[in-house]
Structures are given as C-alpha cells and as structure tokens.
Symmetry: C2
DNA sequence: GTATTCTACCTCGGAGTCGATATATCTTGT
DNA sequence: ACAAGATATATCGACTCCGAGGTAGAATAC
C-alpha cells in the first residue's frame, strides 16, 4: 500500500521509495531490500506499476516506477475496505492515514475514519489478575503499567478528538457535493 | 517476552496466556494458536518454563506453565538489553513496558526508558517532496497527513513528559539505595 | 592510483506468523 | 438423548519478511 501510495504522488525509483517508506512506517523502521524489491516485482507482475530504466543521476542506473490505472484502482480498494489490521494496528493505521487522501470521495473517507473511531471507543482492558478480572490502572503495582495505561488513554483521546472533527468536516463536504 | 513476562506474575495455562497476550499486544491483536503453542514448546525446550498437566476446571485438561530460573534470567536479559525494534516499534515498546518492572534494578530500568526517550527526541520527518526535501505539516495538502503529524507530535510529547518524570523518580530511588 | 563510501538493484535461506484443521472435554440447551 | 458451543491443546503448509550476501557504477578521500 505504501509503495502504490507514494507512486500516486509522483514517479520514484526503488531506492528513493525505500527511504520514504522507512521514514513513514513507525518513525524510522527501515524496510529491508529483501522485502521491497520482491514486492515491487510482484506489483509489476500484477500490472500495478510500470518500470522504465533511467540513467542514475548520482550513481548506478535507476528503475523509475510509475503507477498504472490498475495500481490506482488496487490502492483505492485497499483504502476503501481495509483489512482489520489496518484499523487495530497503530503502525498500519498511520500508513493508511498517510494515503487516505487518494480515496477521493469524502463520504468514503469518513467511513474509514468512523471504523477507527469505533475501534478506539471500546475501553482497553490490558491487565487481569489470577481470576481473570480486569485490574484498573489505580490498582496496578507497576508504575510502568500505570504509565502505559495513562499514555494509552491520553493518546486515544487525542486521536478521537481529531477523528470527530475530521468526520464532521468530511460529512459537511459530502453533504454539499450531494446537494449541488 | 510476553509469555515469560506473564508467567513471572503467576502460573498460567496456554489458553489463558493467549487471551492475556491478545489484549496486551496493540490492543486486541489476537495471537494465533499456531504461533503460541510452538513458542511455548520452544521455551520449554530451552528450560525457560515447566509444564504440569492439571484437570481442566471448566473443560479439557490444561497444561499449567511455570517460569523457571532460566526463564527469569532470559526475560531479564531481554528487558535489560532490548533489540532496536523494542525501542522504535510502538507495539513492541508497549509490550516491553508492561514487563519492565521484572527488571528489579531501578538504574537498569531508567537506562531502558532513556533509550526510548532518546529515540523520541529525534524530530520526525514523515513526508518529502520530489526533490527529497522534508515537507512541514503546515504545507501538507492532505488533512489526513496533517492530522497524522499532529497526533504523532502530541502523543510523543505526552510520552516524553511521562518518561522524564519516571526517569527522574527512578534515579532518585537508585541514588538512595546506592548511598545506604 | 587505489580504497572507501554512497547509490542502486537483486536473490536466497531462514525465521516467524497465520489460518485451517484436528482432537478432546465439559457444560448448557432442547 | 443429543447437539451445540466454549474450553483447551497441537500440527501443518503457505506466506511474509528480514538479514546476509552479491553485483555494479560513480564520487570522494587518501
């Protein structure tokens, strides 16, 4: 998704793509060559991108990659109806968010945000005692677990706040375009 | 790490462990049977835990798992000197944090928190233009990317604040025990 | 001249994870 | 009496991903 998402902005070569994906995922989680290049080839085989060899501006020759219509369609399908992991896993969610603007319909964008919003709504029970009963933060002995739950709660509220404002904005815009 | 960390609190059987790990990791990212049971066996082979068959209190018989001294040592090694991913990947970091109290020396605990603190300090450049120059949040066209960077910044500050207070507290305590 | 470094691409083996499948027990509903 | 569902453990094949290694061109350092 990140490869097609970046290519949708402008054509790139593999090495450049690697650095962009690395700085996006998490913060700086490098993507291994052994992951990137086979994935590019897979997307090429699936007609999602085309390759054009260009002389390297700095060193060895590059393969400039361009997204195709099939690739754009595939990207939009992934964004419109993301797998569960893209909603529940923070890392994946942030990747999705980075490319959600490529889904052009504000109503569809709002629906995706709503899924995340719904997920964040369910109260997080992280720790349980011997009997399996949830332990509230104030009864946790470990200051790290206490901090973990505090941070978790605080960051969730921050994101929920943003989501609500954004969903409202998108629905307003969807209403405008529908009533025109 | 999560298996040994939970067992360090009290003995558990696999099924129970599965639910606890699931509710901890991320928030609710279920752990597959095919991951859990082979891992338990691997830890057993490595003498990190012992197994004792007990009649199932509700249904089928359980294998009650108990951590050994070797297991405790291994857990502490993982916590004391975590791999890079445990510092930079939010999901992994939160798992580590959930068990950091098993590292009993406050000085060692503070050192791990300091590594995370140092990582959070480096400013996040998530998006770049065609020339490779970083794009500041205010010049981003996508509201989702803008929100992404806002949320990222805000949650980072929240965690940094907590880390600083916690590191200070731990160092105070380390000073006390050293001067006694 | 030559070594090093950065750019740029690619492949292979191994490790880890998942989903499907299987088995068995006990409780609950019908 | 029987079916369904939760509990509980285990394995296997498929898949993904990474890390190590290799190739090569161009710039820079020594």
């Amino acid at each position: 998704m990140a490869i097609l998402g970046f290519l949708r902005d402008f054509p790139l070569h593999g090495y450049d793509l690697k650095n962009r994906v690395a700085s996006l995922a998490g913060h700086v989680r490098p993507v291994a060559d052994g992951t990137l290049y086979p994935t590019i080839k897979k997307l090429e085989d699936a007609q999602c991108l085309t390759r054009r060899t260009a002389p390297g501006s700095v060193a060895a020759p590059r393969h400039m990659l361009e997204i195709t219509q099939d690739g754009t369609d595939q990207l939009r399908r992934w964004l419109r109806d993301p797998e569960a992991g893209f909603i529940t896993d923070d890392n994946k969610w942030y990747v999705l968010l980075a490319f959600l603007h490529h889904l052009e319909n504000p109503r569809e964008q709002a629906l995706v945000l709503a899924r995340r919003r719904e997920f964040l709504d369910q109260p997080a029970q992280l720790f349980f005692d011997e009997q399996g009963a949830p332990i509230p933060p104030e009864r946790l002995e470990s200051p790290f677990r206490k901090g973990l739950m505090q941070i978790h709660r605080s960051t969730n509220l921050t994101e929920i706040d943003w989501l609500d404002r954004q969903i409202g904005e998108l629905n307003r815009r969807a209403g405008f375009t529908a009533s025109r």
